[in-house]
């Protein structure tokens, strides 16, 4: 089992971590390229940068606005994120692993604080999971990944906490550590392909929306032409009664 653990936190970790970084870099770059294209396509270059900046910062550090609505959910969500960001990066044991593998490291959190944060993340994660069933508006909205993520995310926290704080038999320890390492690797592999991609995309949200409202001049007419009804625009009576000509150049996948 130990060799599996070593594989998990050695080569597999390096692969998962690299793929996560590459995946996140890819979608970030794609979004930025999309924004540049949208900006170039629009003749309206007036962007309210102040508004974009203010809204972006306000949501990245939402301490002022989060609690205005749904205070219980907001509190749970806030502390969940806090634990999720701080513990994996600043746990003393993790920092030590970095130091050993890469030769450099950064200051670690005091062990006691890491422990509290881990416990908070676990409770909050389970709280968010329960909230999916308890809050009527969220129940119907929840997809499989929305239900799976809180559980998957707390898994390395629970196992990590058990390993570093409880006196357990070596075999149990190994089993726990195995789950800890492999669930963490799985999380890293999944991040770029799921909603957790917001960890890098969230700062772009406001500018993305601002750009989407920049309607390129002539686009409406080009859409009609592509659909084969340039001579019968939508405001001509019963124009759609006539079967639209096949639009060869456009086809949905």
């Amino acid at each position: 089992m130990e060799s599996w653990i070593e594989f998990g936190r050695g080569p597999l970790f390096r692969i998962a971590f690299s793929l996560m970084l590459l995946g996140l870099a890819r979608i970030f770059a794609l979004t930025v390229l999309g924004l540049v294209e949208a900006y170039g396509r629009s003749s309206d270059k007036i962007v309210n940068w102040r508004e974009v900046r203010n809204q972006t910062i306000a949501w990245l550090f939402p301490m002022n606005r989060l609690w205005r609505k749904r205070p219980v959910y907001s509190t749970i969500s806030f502390f969940f994120h806090l634990g999720l960001l701080l513990v994996p990066l600043f746990l003393a044991a993790h920092v030590l692993l970095w130091k050993r593998a890469a030769g450099f490291a950064w200051p670690a959190l005091p062990q006691r604080l890491s422990n509290y944060l881990a416990l908070v993340a676990i409770v909050a994660g389970l709280g968010l999971f329960s909230g999916r069933f308890l809050y009527p508006a969220a129940r119907k909205l929840s997809r499989r990944q929305d239900l799976a993520w809180p559980l998957l995310l707390v898994l390395p926290f629970i196992t990590g906490y058990v390993c570093s704080n409880l006196a357990i038999r070596p075999t149990t320890y190994d089993a726990m550590m195995l789950v800890h390492v492999y669930s963490a690797n799985l999380i890293m592999l999944l991040i770029p392909f799921t909603k957790i991609a917001h960890c890098v995309l969230a700062p772009l949200s406001q500018i993305v929306t601002a750009m989407a409202w920049k309607f390129p001049a002539g686009a409406g007419d080009r859409v009609a032409a592509t659909l084969g009804h340039a001579d019968r625009p939508t405001w001509v009576k019963n124009s759609r009664m006539v079967q639209a000509a096949p639009a060869d150049e456009v086809s949905a996948k």
Partner: protein, 469 residues
């Protein structure tokens, strides 16, 4: 907010449509739709979606939204429709997911691959029907946007969803008929007001002002080289005499040159609600008239969507940074008052007054404080609704729904329920709603809910407070 009673729910969602029309069009929505090709709708919907993605900037937003949307349901607390119905299908994020799921399935690589593996057949006619219903239950007020930690703009999705639907012929008849008259009709405006009727109205309004305050105020028509080309919602010429009298009297007091153009005098632009193509063609009508008269600025009357569609889309379609500046009449009046060119009598309005923020001008933070400062200057008893300003609640008739008469019970019982409670709580005698759409909706709303409050425009009250000399 109190949930709807069973009786209210029945009334709000009752459909006046004939069952054979519903069967023929295969569209169980409450609004009327002109006949259209019903065959092969999913394929044609996807074709329209693909064409729109190809030529517009929506793709960057859709890509982003499908990646980040966390389905946290925070938006639910901001949606006046969901708060009234309690129906999970009315949660903004659920509404958006209708379209986002189509995008994910048909226009992303992962969606297409997934469908191949799992054998998902893709878009169905049922889902198109669901979208046709859902996107017109939303008033596109964008209040939920400010509550979304991921920055998903559900108003944008509603706009896009309606745009795609309109390209396959699904659009409320009321909106389609108005746009047809505006772009193809002899009168060239949404209310079909002919020029002689406009001239008669303006002369009548001048006489009314003379009779009312004893001042000779004219409504300049086709004045070449005027500073401002004035475009109110054309319905104001039919229904909002006092607002227009106030507008003209302000200009009389400031002495600035302005004009109404007989070539085009309608600020309304339903394109903002359902079609980028219509939005552009209507905005360009303003440009043609502005060039004909050689004006220097575009001045939009008291109307939220008219102001937004000109302010934010005139630069997009008519020359970018070189486009003529677009301002709203409330900005103009506020500026003139600040500069001391307009004198107002303090305390001219003794009754209690409150202010309703039209979503289209308040949400971007554009016109929020200007009307309040003017009202505080002339009102003895001004009170705020809660919430207000950028966080205002929609009147319930936004997104063009106010023009769809057959869904009036829905608008007053569901869409406007929160607003009715707000107005009642202020105890105001006057509710100032500087928007043609909001005014119509709020009047129907106070009548339905038995609230003793008169809905007026800002300039209706300013008209009573302007001091000459």
């Amino acid at each position: 907010m109190e949930p709807l009673s069973t009786e209210e729910r029945r009334k709000a969602f009752a459909s006046a449509k004939k069952p054979d029309i519903v069967r023929k069009q295969r569209l169980p929505v409450r609004y009327h739709v002109e006949d259209f090709d019903v065959t092969d709708r999913p394929r044609r919907f996807l074709q329209a979606f693909a064409a729109i993605l190809k030529h517009t900037n929506y793709r960057v937003a859709l890509d982003h939204y499908v990646r980040v949307s966390a389905k946290c349901a925070r938006c639910s607390v901001k949606c006046q429709v969901y708060l009234a119905t309690g129906d999970e299908r009315d949660v903004p994020c659920h509404r958006s997911e209708l379209l986002l799921s189509v995008y994910r399935r048909h226009f992303t690589v992962s969606g297409v691959l997934r469908a191949r593996v799992l054998g998902d057949a893709g878009l169905t006619d049922d889902k198109i029907q669901e979208m046709a219903e859902s996107f017109y239950n939303c008033t596109a007020c964008r209040r939920c946007y400010f509550e979304c930690p991921m920055g998903v703009d559900h108003g944008l999705i509603t706009h896009l969803g309606r745009y795609i639907l309109s390209e396959i012929g699904i659009v409320p008849r009321a909106l389609a008929v108005s746009v047809r008259e505006q772009l193809l009709g002899a009168t060239g405006n949404t209310s079909a007001v002919p020029v002689p009727a406009l001239i008669d109205t303006l002369e009548f309004l001048s006489e009314e002002i003379k009779d009312g305050i004893g001042v000779d105020v004219s409504f300049p028509v086709d004045r070449q080289g005027a500073e401002y080309l004035f475009l109110p919602a054309v319905s104001d010429f039919l229904m909002e005499a006092e607002t227009l009298m106030g507008n003209a009297t302000v200009f009389h007091a400031t002495g600035d040159s302005w004009t109404i153009g007989t070539g085009y005098f309608d600020g309304i632009n339903y394109g903002l609600f359902y079609s980028d193509q219509i939005l552009e063609h209507v905005v360009k009508k303003i440009q043609v008239e502005a060039q004909r008269l050689g004006v220097r600025k575009i001045l939009i009357g008291e109307c939220g969507h008219a102001s937004r569609s000109a302010k934010y889309f005139y630069p997009a379609f008519c020359g970018g940074k070189d486009a003529l500046p677009v301002i709203n009449i409330m900005e103009y009046t506020h500026q003139a008052w600040k500069e001391g060119r307009l004198k107002l009598k303090a305390g001219a309005i003794a009754e209690r007054v409150t202010y309703h923020d039209p979503c289209n001008i308040a949400r971007p933070g554009w016109i929020v404080e200007q009307p309040r400062e003017l009202l505080k200057a002339i009102c003895g008893d001004y009170v705020e609704m809660t919430p207000n300003r950028r966080d205002n609640i929609c009147c319930g008739g936004g997104g063009g729904t106010v023009s769809i008469d057959e869904i009036q019970p829905y608008r007053t019982l569901v869409g406007g329920k929160a607003k009715a409670d707000q107005i009642r709580a202020t105890g105001a005698k006057y509710c100032v709603a500087p928007c043609a759409n909001c005014k119509k909706q709020l009047r129907e709303l106070v009548a339905e809910h038995g609230i003793d409050c008169q809905i007026v425009g800002l300039h209706d009250l300013l008209y009573k407070a302007i001091v000459f000399g």
